[in-house]
Symmetry: D2
Subunit: 304 residues, 4 copies
């Protein structure tokens, strides 16, 4: 069974539903969800890792690499889109009272001000909770602002979709499991890792980046996180293009292992956008194999 950072009806739940439609277990926090995988309570969980507006989800970044080993085995990117959901029969003109979570109210403020200038906006504990409340025929709330998944879950009607003021925002979720065979290489993969600098070394980030650059590996995300020891001590949480089974990535990982205090491998998995990297000449597996073959001949070469 899978789990997710709940409750049901959130974007995380929506991300989970792209992976499985079987019953899944919601957890009240990201750390609880990740520990549930570690302890075997569930086989995997879906948690948010970054948002295109808010940035990295620090609870996820810090907890993934801290504790028994975990592996990201997949990613899902979900548009952060809100809609106005009502009970069957309610028209836009009927809406006097809107229930939603504070975050969602903030992200739809302009739309609500323009389209429902007379309506009162009331805060609920979650957008999913708002949908549940509105689904009650006796509710004094006329509409919920929530994700489509919540509207559908509680049998509401979608009056308007995409009412967020900042369209195009997305959240990226990762599917996390215990270590096991890696997802097969697809050619359009990502590898996630955490690199701890050696404390005595100030140019370390540059050296870390050169390990990637020197082997044609492009980064798609890098975030510094405190190591929680002293101010100015950081580790780097990195997503890079490629799979552990790509030779350039394997050599990069070994290079990092040599120069860093510690490297925590968090998995190789298919990219959500299926976009294959553009490799500079000399960095595909063929080039690595040919170089190894050439090296072997140097040893065995016989007088001409």
């Amino acid at each position: 069974m899978l789990g997710y950072f709940g409750p049901a009806g959130t974007f995380t739940h929506q991300a989970l539903l792209t992976i499985t439609d079987e019953e899944a277990m919601p957890f009240a926090s990201v750390p609880e969800a990740l520990d549930a995988v570690r302890e075997g309570q569930v086989d995997g969980v879906v948690v948010p890792i970054e948002n295109s507006v808010e940035g990295g989800v620090t609870a996820t970044l810090d907890k993934l690499g801290n504790g028994a080993p975990l592996r990201i085995v997949g990613e899902v990117v979900i548009p952060v889109e809100f809609g106005l959901y009502v009970r069957e029969g309610t028209q836009l003109d009927d809406v006097r009272n809107v229930l939603t979570h504070g975050h969602a109210a903030a992200q739809c403020r302009d739309w609500l001000a323009v389209m429902l200038p007379e309506a009162t906006v009331v805060e609920a504990g979650s957008t999913a909770g708002a949908a549940m409340e509105v689904s009650n025929p006796d509710s004094r709330h006329d509409a919920a602002v929530c994700a489509r998944v919540a509207g559908e879950m509680y049998g509401l009607v979608e009056l308007v979709h995409g009412i967020e003021d900042n369209p195009g925002a997305v959240t990226r979720f990762v599917h996390v499991a215990r270590p096991g065979p890696l997802p097969p290489r697809t050619g359009a993969d990502k590898t996630t890792l955490v690199a701890y600098m050696r404390e005595d070394h100030s140019g370390a980030l540059l050296e870390i980046l050169e390990q990637f650059a020197g082997r044609g590996v492009n980064l798609t995300r890098i975030e510094s996180r405190p190591t929680k020891t002293f101010l100015g001590s950081y580790c780097f949480n990195i997503d890079a293009e490629g799979h552990l089974h790509d030779k350039r990535m394997a050599e990069t990982l070994m290079g990092l292992h040599r120069i860093c205090r510690e490297v925590i491998f968090l998995g190789s998995y298919p990219r959500a956008d299926k976009q294959e990297p553009t490799l500079p000449r000399g960095f595909d597996d063929n080039a690595f194999s040919q170089a190894a073959d050439w090296l072997a001949t140097l040893e065995s070469e016989q007088p001409g």
Copy 2:
């Protein structure tokens, strides 16, 4: 008048008190505090920018560079230390009921469990609010877990200091003002800036770092933040050793300006720890001046 991210009695307030003991205006959020400077409501504010355990304060990082120009003119580092504060006469054995903010309770959980195993811990809206409540002789709460500044503010007695489970944690605060003459160079300075990569360029972070490294400028903090446009578009919020009036820093800033889409200068100011950088040979102001002098001679050199 200065302002700060309040309320009174917090660590931010404590940071403020290291700068001024005149009356100051608390603000309910970091964005409100920064906008109050921009609008001239106050002359400057003190806000947290990073914590050695939690990392960067994203509201500060994102708001500093977004809007009318602001300048950091100083920094303060404050140990995150909690104490147990009581009304005069209360002994440790008397404490049955502890009031504090959830965050503080979490950070002192072990100490409370060991030293006050029988006590009930109740959550208040802030640690300062807890101190105020406990200062009321009629309060049903026996003790507050709060910062020393709050204990003193409400006339409480410090029963035990340093009860946090994770000693050594610090928070770094910045004193932010409107643009004006820079704080004079002290030789132990920091410069803060935000660099936006050009979107079409994947090795940009490496190039950004090379601008610093190639001129002997060391970084003390780097954080990537989303530009809020699309997933994978980042800017970098950077602290570097040195002052705009150091020639190596001036040249670095110009180098960044040339290769980046945008560079936002957030100030040069004395380091809290007064630690002077160790410069590699050839990177002090003398070396820059001598190089410029030499260049000038090449033009004017006359036949020998």
Copy 3:
């Protein structure tokens, strides 16, 4: 008056003739020619600096930077083409005896073997001397292998041109003068310099190259030369695209001056091939000026 590495009728002479058709003074060696400029005996000289087959001319490389300052003010690239030159009336079938310098004989060996299999090849002190000798109606030599300039100088007839076995070879010559106003920037210029590493520093060449690369300056030639102190101590003789009056070049030169033990500037001058560099975005003079302007505003910026 100009001088050149003689004698008359050589490729160096040919290079000189592209610069002036006034009388010029031949010198017996490159060091003598360069010292004659230093001492004011001539106003400038033309000497070879590299050949596309043989590589750098070490006497020129070592002597240019050693002694009173000199400046390269121009370059000329001359194809290394040999022809078979005879007295009026001589036909190819008549040629029994060919006179030339050993170098030229070596470079035309295949052609001579195929086209004049019966002829005897005799060595002269120079190709120009061979031409002079053949021009004597009483000479026992029927033909000279020499440059066209020598053939013309001695009134010989060109029987065949381009008989060198390795067509396409060129030699590059430089016009060297005493320091004075630099040749104006044309947009398609080269700068030549010698950089001496600091002895105690093993990664110095990488750092030298990064000074260029970090400012968008491309190299067209780099040669290591011993400093003549101990084995393994090198200086680097470098041609780079751009003029001292290009801001990227001025900053590069200053950067080199800071990190090197010594930098000897040998001049900025128009490229023979008039090819303008392709600059990465951010490295033209505009970008440098805008960066300097921006920096100036940071100082003077007033509260908004």
Copy 4:
């Protein structure tokens, strides 16, 4: 049998004698010597590769990598020291006529001017030839300026040793053989190679150097040589610290193979000075092995 770039009595001969005291075959030129190895006429040859004053020996640099594969299997460094050699009984005051090669005369000019101001210096075809001539009791030459090996070979008496004006100059020789098992790793080894850039790539030298630097491999010599195709097309002849059997070197060679048009491996062999490299942390074989072991565990790691 071994060969060498002769004649007998030269510094090359002296270098050969440090390797073997068996009879060896002199060759008239470096190309002939190297081809004699290729063709099996001798088992190996000793040829000069660089001089601390004159720089690289271009014939050796160009010929080593051009033709059937060859391997450097050892190196010898010989001080370039000249002495004044006479027949038994001749005193310094008796010396009226000195015979030597022009090169040697040039290198001892000051000494001869000061110590033998009255003597005539006559040029011979080689310093060894001068010694042979002087050894003839009927010779009209009183003394030879030559290497000690030549003086001893012809039974001359050393009147003065070390008369060169530029003391400390050395020449480095290499012992070249056909491919076969590499000389065993000693911990203080060198590897020699030639790297051909891809023509379409201007920053190639920087990338080549980064392959070494990124793996902690230091260079002791780098020389650019024309590829003999067109002006500005270079290859790089490189000596680096370490042995093909050092993992950092093996990975560096493979890295070069991937990014270069061609890499010619010219051998790994013990350093003459027996100096072991100082490796930055993370670059010894242990670090490479541990990184490979770690990578292997990532694959096989089982749920905790």
